[in-house]
Amino acid sequence: MTDQVVKLARLALLLALATVIHTAEGLIPITVVWFRFGFANIIGLATLELFGFKDALVVTLGRIVLGSLAYGLFGSPAFVLSLSGGICAVVAMGLAYRFTAGVFSEIGISVVGALAHNVAQLTVAYLLFIRNEAALLLLPLMMLTAAGTGFLNGLASRVFVKHFRATAVNIPSSRSSECKRA
């Protein structure tokens, strides 16, 4: 019981953190930096590592929905792009985390996520909104930015997880059975 509550509280905190980062990032003037850093994915990746795939998906979907509600963009093209990118990023990171254990550190997984995010966004933008091959010209540029932002976010996520593990004692997800007996 208690560990469930602790887990819920921590996930809620992560979701709140992700939403704030997601929203705050939108305040960066778009004329200076036309791409998004995807800092909110730091929390998505950390959740994946701390609590597993399902919770990472919930946190990511939650922050996209809440963030877009905060902006009044819910249901807009920007929201659809954000959603498709977010889902693909989490799925790709989940697969990379699960099936390539030891090959990639947080950095590699983060890059995989950033790549999946950009490719999914561009595909959806092409299929739904732009329908002109000229849009695909952005792909190489988006790949390069994915490498950069993925690297940065991976580093940040590593620090975050390390800090989280050090400060938050007794993370219950891996040993819930033990806790129930006690």
């Binding site: 990639f104 950095i107 590699g108 002109n132 091959e133 695909l136 010209l137 190489p140 390069l144 490498a147």
Partner: protein, 121 residues
């Protein structure tokens, strides 16, 4: 940072740079035909060599496309600002003329072989 990380990063950067070189050539390759698109449907492809007027029904009304002297332009348009008419013409160097309100797009297709990749303006 593991070996896997470094390999992945290097691969992504390399492929990205490679695509930078290959993609514009592939996507923006010039052509000898003009493709006319109206509301996401391809209305037709017409050779630039033959002079003609094409009436293209769009969302707002009929856009008239003129092909003359190896170039295609929008001759008249029902849209309010006539930005598409002011976009000029597209020829074999490749390019796009767009009318947003009427959702009509002209673009030239097929590669040409005189060493020029693309022309922007």
């Amino acid at each position: 940072m593991t070996v896997g990380d470094k390999t992945l990063l290097a691969a992504v950067v390399l492929i990205g740079v490679a695509l930078f070189v290959v993609f514009p050539r592939w996507v923006l390759s010039g052509g000898v035909e003009v493709e006319v698109v109206s509301e996401d449907r391809i209305v037709g492809r017409y050779p630039l060599a033959e002079e003609r007027l094409i009436e293209v029904p769009g969302r707002v009304g009929v856009t008239v496309v003129r092909v003359k002297g190896g170039r295609a332009c929008i001759e008249s348009s029902p849209c309010p600002h006539k930005t598409c008419m002011k976009m000029g013409d597209v020829g074999p160097e490749g390019g796009v003329v767009v009318c947003i309100p009427n959702e009509v797009v002209l673009r030239t297709t097929k590669p040409r072989d005189d060493g020029m990749d693309a022309v922007t303006r």
